[in-house]
Symmetry: C2
Subunit: 372 residues, 2 copies
């Protein structure tokens, strides 16, 4: 099935027929054009009302700077998996709302972590602080940056709602999809809360590390977008369960892979120093497993180094040696492998149309073989 | 009309007849019981799912610590003003959602301002930081406090949505009320953004000060809650306009009064030092007017003192003298007076039922004659 990029006034309208496979890059383009049109409209309204147009402009710049659009793509794939047919425009709007919601998550995350860059650009709070230096002390500018970014995020969340509510869904679709959107939000916020509460002094609690991966990533990034799309197509509980059976293992594999990239990734490719996660003391599965297996000296090294604000490359190397010698790295690689296999078994048995199955397989490979 | 407090399972159900006047304290009690039941349910779900139950617990504690419930009350009054009849339970749920949304606003505000107390209790980010000290550096605990409070606020916002979506509204009510809720959110967030962008170095721009008052307070606190209630009752554009004609002047008076309390209020009554607004450099009407009228020496004093981090009581007194001698204080008092009169004129002419008119008059007096 193909989606054609269209002029703004009917940008959400699908035009073409039913030929497999799904054209993911076209879905992505239509979603992006729809988001740009929505935010351009916000800019105009703000200018007319003498309201701060830099807010929608910042969001537009943020979306333009990159991102894989994984959640919108999965939402549309979920719709196809559920045998969706008829008007796809509302589905694409809901898909776009997931990207605006994700912008909210990332903007708030960056404030929480005080990250300096995202997608190669200054983070929203850094950009705002830098714009606010004239006539203000540095401290005031920093505070304005963080506060402004919290508000930009809050608006992204609110506007993601508006995209859903103005998507032109039927009453039946609204009834099916809103509870899933609520679940998704609560899950990712709880997951993020679990994450920050455990950050700084990681423990050997593997269950907790896996719970963080499940809530922050597997459910939020993969399962719920698929569910939302499938629910829009009228998919039943059996279909949603089949999607979960694929989504949860592949999502956990995705996060475990990300954890390894945070320790072993090539900074030139990932775009962030691979000491950051260790310096912040992120509570990950690889660290939890290493702590479970460490002897007394190794444990002392790990707890002394991980989460230490002045961790340098030498210290990070000492951690890497222990993650290797305890077998923690190898175990996590096996966990990734077995989860990918489990997801693949589900895919080959699930009652999804071939086009949806193929698209899921493509995304699954890209997600767990990536280097950034 | 009376609302009776009921057991949890049907806490939202109104029981009694149509006798004027509106029992505001009873509305408030039912709203509070409903919120408590909703959050208790969240606590149970979190405990069952091994998710962080302290989040709904913190929200519950926050709501229990006080607040005037102005927005829920105005929502219910708006419903009566619109001639609402039939099942009031959905109206009370939407009213309650406004209080949960307000909790979100205040929790994020307190992070932005780094306020230490709210309603006589530690703010959410302070409480979280204090709980997080063991095993963490002070800096880590502070960061966890701010990050955790951002997430608690995000969840309050998301859950306020859930209260609306599960309120049992008719399709017609949803169609009418969601756009108003969207407007309300965007307005208060933009208003807050205008506020923080102007804070630190106030100017003589009175229009901007009044725009902040309008968006942050008049529209958010008074106009939109009334509109939302009226829309639930099926009120037409004429009714909404009449409500705006009351709400905007009284809401601006409310904020102008608040600005004066921030400079002249009794700290023992307001609960916050009356140097805070001046030290933060809040861009208020009284300051803008004083700057317009100040001679060179007065202007130099005002710009040197307002927004100065080390402002002491002596400096605040020097500002107060200038606000008095330029006549800025007196002018703002006149502005409050004229806005109250304008609102009263609207009230006496508007086609609201007597009970709604009486309730609005009561709230208007309380809001602009308060000392805290």
């Amino acid at each position: 099935m193909r989606y054609q990029a269209l002029p703004t006034h009917d940008i959400w309208t699908e035009t073409a027929g039913n030929s497999a496979p799904l054209d993911l890059s076209c879905i992505r383009r239509v979603v992006d054009q729809g988001l740009a049109a929505f935010l351009n409209d916000r800019v105009r309204t703000a200018v007319d009302g003498r309201l701060p147009a830099e807010v929608p402009q910042l969001l537009k710049g943020f979306l333009d700077s990159g991102g894989k659009r994984l959640r919108p793509l999965l939402c549309v794939i979920g719709w196809h998996a559920g045998g969706g047919h008829g008007d796809i425009a509302p589905v694409l709007k809901v898909a776009a709302s997931l990207e605006l919601f994700h912008a909210f998550c990332l903007i708030h995350d960056d404030v929480m972590d005080d990250s300096r860059t995202r997608r190669g650009q200054p983070t929203v709070h850094r950009a705002l602080a830098d714009q606010h230096t004239s006539g203000h002390s540095r401290g005031n500018a920093e505070r304005f940056g963080a506060s402004g970014a919290i508000l930009v995020g809050d608006l992204a969340l609110s506007w993601s709602d508006e995209l859903v509510h103005t998507a032109g869904l039927t009453t039946a679709q609204i009834t099916r999809v809103l509870p899933l959107i609520h679940e998704m939000r609560t899950e990712v916020m709880y997951g993020q809360y679990l994450d920050i509460a455990a950050t700084g002094s990681p423990t050997d609690d593997l269950d907790r590390a896996l719970a963080i991966a499940r809530y922050k990533t597997a459910k939020y990034t993969i399962e719920r977008p698929l569910h939302i799309g499938a629910a829009l197509a009228g998919g039943d509980v059996g279909l949603l369960t089949a999607l979960s059976d694929f989504a949860l293992p592949i999502g956990e594999a995705f996060q475990l892979h990300d954890d390894l990239l945070g320790v072993y990734g090539n900074p030139a490719v990932t775009g962030k120093p691979c000491t950051d996660d260790l310096r912040d003391g992120k509570h990950t599965a690889v660290v939890a497993i290493a702590l479970q297996r460490a002897d007394r000296d190794q444990r002392k090294s790990l707890t002394g180094l991980i989460g230490s604000g002045d961790l340098d490359e030498d210290g990070a190397d000492r951690i890497r040696v222990i993650l290797g010698s305890t077998g923690a790295r190898h175990t996590v690689e096996q966990m990734i492998q077995s989860r990918c296999e489990q997801a693949e078994r589900t895919l080959s048995q699930a009652p999804f149309p071939a086009a949806a199955r193929h698209a899921l397989r493509t995304l699954a490979r890209a997600a767990t073989e990536r280097t950034a």
